[in-house]
Amino acid sequence: MKNIEDIHIVPVIPSPPSSEFGAEQTKKGFADGLIELGKLLPNVVVIDTDVAKATRSADFQKIYPERHFNTGVAEQNMLSVAAGMSIEGFIPFATSFGMFIATRGGDQLRNSICYPKANVKVAATHCGISTGGDGASHQINEDIAICRSFPNLTVIVPGDYEEAKQATIAAAYFKGPVYLRYGRDTYPIVPEIHGKFEIGKSRTIREGTDCTIFTTGIMVSEGIKASDMLKEKGISARVVHLPTVKPLDNEVVIKAAQETKFLVTVEEHSIIGGLGEAIAGVTAEHHPTRVYRIGINDVFGQSGQSQELLDLYGLRAINIVEKVLEVTKLQGY
């Protein structure tokens, strides 16, 4: 016989730990963007794969039930169905967890959507380690790498709720395939990234001359925090947020390589194939510079609460600060 004393509940860590501007889900930004698009563009339709409550495409479904479709647990089918609808003039948002799109649906994404430049918007939620309790099987840290390598595919990783909403809307007005990456948890609101969203444009949030911290997605808040902490230590760290990982804002990247001594990249994604290697690729050709990559170090994740996993995998401001201090000392900058 079991009784309630057997339950020692694990305290739930509030997410995020602290932010004066509050926090919200990026996938809610997706849902609110969709709802606006429902009004703006009558040919926007949404297809989900039995995860409409989880992706929040159900929010759109409530208002536009006749423009929402559910394939059941069949992500490959969804992606090719979306391609078909785009051929007939609709703008489908095909949505599921990132794991089920980028890996399960990799061929459909590449050959049904990217190859013919289908006007499909692929909306991937539950991306990155902060997916949490479901564990490694659901924490996709490889989707940016996969999607960056597909020709014709634009890859967008919004940094907070508002940017997610604006990016969703911008994607619908852009012609061609777009991969949008959202998380599962709530993440800090970052007012600095709330200006007009332009695909392919970076945002320089802090000026700096010693080093540049490049962020994408939800790492933007940690990048800003790190720069402020470094300032107190006498280090001037530029912060550039790149919500569009592909095409990359090369000009701003090269400028940072020329004007600052070294670069640090921060992403909630594998250090293989993500933002870090995208930047290293550009600088290697145009202005060779040291690039230090912070991300998931080529390992599978594990179950845990979102916020503790971000700590555990070193995706915090403190980890950025430590890296910058270590490099500054090591290289004698």
């Binding site: 016989m1 079991k2 009784n3 509940i9 694990v10 089918n77 309790g133 479901d134 179950s303 845990g304």
Partner: protein, 272 residues
């Protein structure tokens, strides 16, 4: 044949497993209750009556294998493995916690009875085919049991595996569909209709049985028949999602949301 004594034993086990499911998920504040509860009788029948296995010898070649297709139902899986002695009871405290091998979805760990990694739906029946084919090639006689969700079998790969098993006459596979008529977004027949389900499997060359998935006698008698089949066998087990706790039954809120402490107490109160 099942004696009354054994039947009572299995019923008691089912109750204990259901309690453990509630406790594990409440403690972790994360996990899938509904689909764990619907599969209790199937797993208890397999591990406590049907399967040849020995927790003291988890790598025994001749053991029957169980593959958890609907990987989100780890609470029922881990609770049963712990009950059989594969997993130390105190390790259940680590469910869905960093550093624990008891991941949200099964991570292969043969020593602890976890035969195959699953989690993204639709992979398991193919893996089962690969294992079952290998057993045939090696001349081994054990059975391969696989449990799929009804939502899970909407994946195209399941039907690729169905054809494969038929082609290679893998009659050492006995699979179950946990037919609780529900999935993540609601009722299966609304999300993506599967009925008539049995004829689909028959058309793919499988022998099909249709049973009440909470009735131990039906489960056990059916598997005994299935073992004599010269085809791969699919047992469509009609179940109730959330079975055993009145307010969780057929309420899909409990697909993936954990109960809080108060709700867990109410649930445990019904599981005495």
């Amino acid at each position: 044949m099942l004696t009354q004594e054994k039947l009572n034993f299995l019923k008691d086990k089912a109750k204990e497993i259901r309690q453990e499911i509630i406790i594990m998920i409440t403690r972790a504040a994360s996990g899938h209750v509904g689909g764990s509860m619907s599969a209790v009788e199937i797993l208890v029948s397999l591990y406590h009556h049907i399967m040849k296995h020995d927790s003291q010898n988890p790598k025994w070649t001749e053991r029957d294998r169980f593959i958890m297709g609907k990987g989100h139902a780890t609470p029922v899986y881990y609770a049963v493995l712990a009950d059989c002695g594969y997993i130390p009871k105190e390790d259940l405290l680590g469910f869905r916690r960093p550093g624990s091998y008891l991941q949200g979805h099964p991570k292969q760990y043969t020593e602890k009875g976890i035969e195959v990694s699953t989690g993204t739906l639709g992979l398991s029946l193919s893996t089962t085919c690969g294992m079952a084919l290998s057993a045939k090639l090696k001349g081994e006689k054990q059975n391969y049991f696989c449990l799929c969700g009804d939502g899970e079998i909407q994946e195209g790969q399941i039907w690729e595996a169905a054809m494969f098993a038929n082609k290679y006459k893998l009659n050492n596979i006995i699979a179950f569909v946990d037919r609780n008529y529900m999935q993540s977004d609601g009722y299966s027949e609304d999300i993506m209709p599967l009925d008539p389900l049995e004829p689909k499997w028959e058309a793919f060359g499988w022998e099909v049985f249709s049973i009440d998935g909470h009735d131990f006698e039906q489960i056990i008698n059916t598997v005994e028949k299935a073992m004599l089949s010269d085809k791969p066998v699919m047992i469509v087990a009609r179940t109730i999602k959330g079975k055993g706790v009145s307010f969780m039954e057929n309420d899909n809120t409990w697909h993936g949301s954990p109960p809080n402490l108060e709700t867990a107490m109410r649930a445990l109160g019904e599981l005495v």
